[in-house]
């Protein structure tokens, strides 16, 4: 390896979309204020500056916590910043706290929570009854917040099971189940697309649920 190769290093910190490099040196509180109250390019620049400020430390923290599993680390990293994007509008930067940088503490707390959830999902065995209950509730159009709150892994498990089960169905049956489950569409909407009445779709959906139950039982027997 030559000495020139050693000089080629990745640019760090990564410049997300920061056009005004001067804003990188602006105070965190000021950046947050710009993000919360600014419009247009100003807002984008503020978020880029905040992202560039914390992304390196957060990435290293997450990667260490998941034992170097890169794919999982990327997942968690992205989810933390998605939460930040959603919640920074309402974040209150308190100067009277003991922490030097409340925003940094808050972001790392988000990352820690997400890592805990990741391990919970990894090590928790989700019973099939729970998955079925979630699946049926969602296909019936009921509220599934409690399921997702107390059993976070149930959503992924149910999605995988449903996807695997619907592979054996006809295209129309697949459309009905997937639109109902993933798209949360009503029977009338599905019927309008398929040129069928709402009642006909309901009947077919009912038959499909029976078929799905059989398929799930078979898959459970095979796994067991």
């Amino acid at each position: 390896m030559s000495s020139t190769d050693l000089k080629i290093v990745a640019p760090w910190p990564p410049i997300a979309s920061l056009r005004n490099t001067q804003s990188f040196h602006v105070d965190t509180l000021e950046l947050l204020r710009l993000f919360q109250h600014g419009v247009g390019l100003e807002k984008t620049e503020a978020f880029s500056a905040l992202y560039n400020r914390y992304c390196q430390g957060m990435w290293e923290y997450i990667l260490r916590q998941v034992d170097g599993a890169e794919a999982e680390a990327k997942d968690i990293f992205g989810q933390v910043w998605l939460v930040a994007l959603e919640e920074l509008h309402t974040f209150h930067y308190r100067l009277d706290t003991l922490a030097d940088d409340p925003l940094r503490s808050w972001l790392f707390r988000c990352a820690a929570n997400r890592i805990k959830q990741f391990y919970r999902e990894q090590h928790t065995q989700t019973p099939l009854e729970l998955v079925e209950g979630f699946l049926w509730a969602r296909l019936s159009g009921e509220d599934t917040t409690l399921y997702e709150l107390f059993a976070p892994a149930v959503k992924n498990k149910a999605g995988s099971l449903l996807y695997a089960a619907t592979r054996h169905l006809t295209p129309e049956q697949k459309v009905i189940l997937r639109l109902r489950y993933t798209g949360s569409m009503s029977f009338a909407e599905i019927g309008a697309y398929l040129d069928k009445s709402e009642g006909a779709v309901k009947v077919q959906h009912h038959r499909l649920l029976k078929k799905l139950r059989t398929l799930l039982e078979e898959s459970a027997c095979q796994e067991g």
Partner: protein, 313 residues
């Protein structure tokens, strides 16, 4: 320390690139707030793509290579970060092909039923016949060697046809019935023709049997009238009465006869002998007949009733 965390053989460049591109995407999202229904549609599509990718055991980088996008774009797609406007038909078709899915489902999840409908109609219009045949082949993945399956009326509710009844294509069942109608009709016509021919043959056979039996009985009776005479074996009353009743016996001359097994005959039975006593060689024997008739009154009627068997040498 940072390098110690890296897996063997991997450089930091992809991670940095990932972080940079993700930051750029997030920054774009920070300024462009999409309407709620678009965000919901992108989230629906994201969930579906994530589940499908995991089902096929594909990593994000592998999927990205297949569809010619970067890993961050796949990540953004799965997290619902991609702008709604970027999810065009071309991208959806590429994703659907990579995941082995119908593009129709992806379009519907994205909340564009009109586009899905037009695509469906277009494909039906263009490849109507082809699609119909391919669907039929999917319905019958393995043709069972059963001739009854050609008879639609009989086999309609068998397992092979069960999913056909539920199938989404409107009128498919009717079209299949229509297609098979001629075959069924011709089969039924052949079946009816065969039945008629068989019946005619059976009737002919019966007539032939009856006529043969009648003729043989008639000629047998005639020949027996000419060839045989009846002799009373003993002074048995009913035999004499029988001879009196029969014109043959009444006119027959009593000739020397070969006595045949007389001793073996029971009393009341009739022995029939041939009439040409001159030629001993031609003279044949004997026949005998007689069915045991326990009733005395019936013994006289055995010849007239035809209940006899002639043995001739």
């Amino acid at each position: 320390m940072r390098k110690n965390l890296q897996p063997c053989g991997r450089s930091e460049q992809p991670q940095d690139q990932f972080i940079t591109e993700l930051g750029a995407l997030l920054a774009k999202q920070a300024n462009n707030r999409q309407p709620t229904h678009q965000r919901q549609a992108v989230a629906n599509l994201a969930e579906y793509v994530r589940v499908a990718r995991s089902h096929h055991n594909l990593t994000r980088s592998a999927l990205a290579q297949q569809i010619g996008k970067s890993e961050v774009e796949i990540y953004a797609l799965e997290q619902g970060l991609l702008p709604y406007a970027q999810l065009d038909l071309r991208l959806l078709c590429t994703i659907a092909a990579a995941l082995g899915e119908e593009v129709e489902t992806l379009i519907l999840l994205l909340g564009q039923p009109a586009l899905a409908h037009s695509l469906r109609e277009e494909s039906t219009h263009k490849h109507g016949d082809k699609q119909r045949f391919s669907l039929r082949h999917r319905t019958f993945p393995k043709q069972i060697d059963n001739w009854l399956r050609t008879l639609l009326g009989i086999n309609l509710l068998s397992n092979q046809w069960r999913n056909l009844v539920d199938f989404w294509q409107k009128g498919r069942l009717l079209s299949c019935i229509r297609e098979n109608y001629h075959l069924t009709t011709s089969l039924n016509a052949n079946f009816n023709l065969g039945l008629k021919i068989s019946a005619v043959l059976l009737v002919c056979l019966l007539l032939f049997g009856v006529s043969t039996y009648s003729l043989s009985t008639f000629f047998g009776a005639k020949s027996s009238e000419k060839a045989y005479t009846t002799l009373p074996y003993s002074n048995n009353g009913h035999v004499e009465r029988s001879a009196n009743l029969s014109p043959i016996t009444s006119t027959a001359a009593v000739t020397p006869v070969m006595t045949i097994a007389v001793a073996q005959r029971r009393a009341g039975q009739v022995v029939v002998v041939p009439v040409d006593p001159a030629n001993d060689q031609q003279m044949a024997t004997i026949s005998l007949l007689l069915l045991p008739t326990p009733n005395e009154s019936q013994r006289c009627d055995w010849r007239t009733n035809g209940r006899f068997t002639i043995c001739r040498i």
